[in-house]
């Protein structure tokens, strides 16, 4: 779960990482005083808000209200701005980059640092970027902070501050179950202070059971996305017209690849996860019908449930679906024949293999 900048900064402050003074508002009327010149920053869960006009300076309360009015409601790459952060403007001397994330290959946390912080961090050449794997059994040790400070070639006073921040990023990631903590830029101000200019934190959604504080936090989701999330179904909107329902991320992607081979294009996909639970199939069918695809392709590889049971769930689901579209159904597993018969009797297009299903669905979609 991605946190808004202001929320991420609250967490950073809680763990002792310096952030600029600031205030979040959802209406210009809430702005009464300023701590000095500020930046008014759109709170959206997408990058590139600066270029989109989502960050504006303000010197006075009136200017701040004006900037907030302009930004609130602004649509930034599909995300509507509901809140702005008014933040004391920093006198920037240098912009660094600090990040910590999960590294699959090294199976642990990876610390990243660069003296070239700011917008173009992704294109920083390898030798300008320090990547340090942290041994999970060792945990954070001071030498790690020292190596970061030394790589960044900081004078002693800033080195000490950065070492402190590195240790706190680690502590934050561990104790808050963050899978990403990123400060870009990490600002060195003209008076020598080191402050988090921006903050990105992603909390591991699998760890929510021990972070009840996020229960009320709302996410930027479309109604369909919200429904899918509630059902623990992965929902992705694409630009084709075939609605794909499959179980398992790999199988779903393989279904997309197969459709593509036969000239079809997916418009949305629903991944049930590794389950073949008939109830979940039924719910996915209903959700899919709301997305209005031209064809639905159902590809379920049955593990422990019988095919006829899954077929029964599908039949129940289509009873409630109003806009009738062609449905190509392929259910693999025990009692396969029986399931197929049930579905074709109900007017669906049965298929026995993945290729066959992909071919039939593509053909229907191009009709």
């Amino acid at each position: 779960m991605k946190l808004y900048e202001f929320k991420a900064k609250e967490l950073m402050r809680k763990h002792g990482i310096p952030i600029p003074m600031g205030q979040v508002v959802s209406s210009p009327d809430e702005i009464k005083t300023l701590p000095g010149p500020v930046m008014v920053k759109a709170q959206v869960l997408i990058g590139g808000r600066g270029k989109a006009g989502g960050i504006k300076p303000a010197e006075t309360v009136d200017e701040a209200k004006k900037a907030a009015s302009a930004i609130l409601g602004m649509n930034i790459k599909g995300y509507v701005t509901k809140q702005v952060l008014l933040e004391q403007r920093l006198e920037v001397d240098k912009e660094l980059y600090l990040g910590m994330t999960i590294d699959r290959s090294r199976r642990g946390m990876l610390l990243m640092a660069s003296a070239s912080g700011g917008m173009d961090i992704e294109s920083v050449p390898d030798d300008k970027l320090l990547m340090l794997s942290i041994d999970p059994l060792m945990g954070y040790q001071q030498f790690i902070g020292r190596r970061v400070a030394s790589f960044l070639e900081l004078p002693k006073e800033q080195a000490t501050q950065v070492m402190g921040i590195v240790s706190k990023i680690y502590e934050l990631a561990e104790s808050e179950d963050a899978e990403l903590v990123e400060i870009n830029p990490l600002v060195i101000t003209k008076d020598g202070k080191v402050v988090a200019g921006d903050a990105k934190i992603t909390i591991d959604s699998d760890a929510m059971f021990r972070h009840k504080e996020y229960d009320e936090l709302e996410e930027d989701l479309t109604p369909l996305e919200a429904k899918a999330k509630k059902l623990d179904i992965a929902f992705v909107q694409l630009d084709g017209n075939i609605g794909v329902i499959a179980n398992g991320a790999g199988l779903t992607m393989a279904t997309l690849d197969s459709i593509n081979m036969f000239g079809g294009k997916a418009g949305v996909f629903l991944d049930l996860g590794g389950t073949d639970d008939p109830e979940k199939v039924r719910e996915a069918m209903q959700l899919m019908s709301e997305a209005n695809p031209k064809v639905i392709l159902l590809n379920i590889f049955g593990g422990i449930t019988k095919c006829d049971t899954v077929a029964k769930g599908v039949l129940e689901a289509i009873k409630d679906i109003k806009n009738k579209v062609p449905i190509v159904a392929r259910i693999k597993g025990v009692n396969e024949e029986l399931g197929r018969e049930m579905l074709s009797n109900a007017g669906m297009i049965p298929a026995s293999g993945l290729s066959e299903a992909a071919e039939k669905a593509s053909k229907e979609s191009l009709r």
């Binding site: 699959r104 690849d257 293999g353």
Partner: protein, 285 residues
């Protein structure tokens, strides 16, 4: 001798009294696996599918000599269960549970490594060696004894491919589903090394996905260490690029992680790459 599972494998099922534990302990037994014990705290003395239940893994090991564990406990308790198995001297652990917090996984994967324990998962279907046994949840009926080793990051997609192989008369030596989690106990490379050394495995099928760099690392390993023929399929060639995790993901990946990067790396290592899963049997034949 086979890969990971062999005739000496004796399994304890952690979380045996739950729905999945009960179902799959029977399925494992039916597949020929020696399931000798179950563990559910507070339920010692019961039996499930004629398998005795104990309060702790330590007790189960003391009483039955189990050397392998299959874990079905809910995600919040998985770290504890893996640690308990390691502490009790279990040498092979299959953690089926999905949605395990990644910081928990980082911790127990590191502890398993430090103790020389083979850990598969979390969030994985486990492994099956037709004729010898299985540990995990792979559907028994799709397998056929043979000489192809299958390793996969995916669950149902693996079943799809194994099923297609079996339908075309191509059997498997061992099939390992390493799981798609962010921090897996066992990687492609670990399994490829075992297949290379396994006399029962003559050919290898590797099923990958977009994201991460595990397939690229596998390609590098294959280039220098694997002499057996390898066929791969990478799911997601036509999937849209995922939403980004800040800059950090892009920084780590540095252009790797896409289907293209993976396929190029594998082909450069002499691996035949299938365009769609149903092409795999033909290429491995």
């Amino acid at each position: 001798m086979a890969v990971i599972v062999d005739s000496n494998t004796t399994v304890v099922v952690q979380g045996i009294t739950g729905y999945q534990g009960t179902y799959h302990s029977k399925a494992m037994k039916d597949f020929g696996t020696k399931v000798v014990a179950g563990v559910t705290p507070g339920k010692a003395g019961q039996t499930v599918n004629d398998i005795p239940v104990f309060n702790s893994v330590a007790e189960a090991v003391a009483k039955t000599g189990a050397n392998t564990s299959c874990i079905f406990v809910p995600a919040p308790f998985t770290r504890d269960s893996v640690m308990e198995a390691i502490d009790a001297g279990i040498k092979t652990i299959v953690a089926v549970t999905e949605h395990v917090p990644v910081h928990d996984a980082i911790h127990f994967v590191a502890v398993a490594q430090s103790r020389g324990v083979v850990l598969i998962g979390p969030n994985c279907p486990g492994l099956a060696s037709p004729g010898l046994g299985k540990v995990g949840i792979l559907p028994s009926k799709i397998f056929m004894k043979g000489d192809v080793g299958v390793v996969s990051r995916s669950g149902t997609l693996t079943y799809e491919i194994v099923n297609a192989m079996t339908e075309q008369g191509i059997g498997q030596s061992t099939c390992v589903g390493i799981g798609g989690d962010r921090v897996p106990g066992t990687n492609f490379v670990d399994v490829l090394a075992k297949f290379q050394d396994d006399p029962l495995t003559r050919k290898i099928v590797m099923v990958g996905e977009i994201g991460g760099t595990a397939e690229e690392e596998a390609a590098e390993f294959i280039k220098t260490n694997v002499t057996k023929p390898v066929v791969a399929y990478i799911a997601g060639r036509t999937a849209p690029p995922g939403k980004r995790m800040g800059h950090a993901g892009a920084i780590i990946a540095r252009g790797r992680g896409t289907a293209e990067s993976k396929i190029t790396a594998l082909e450069a290592a002499g691996v035949k790459v299938a365009r769609i899963p149903t092409d795999v049997p033909e290429l491995i034949r």
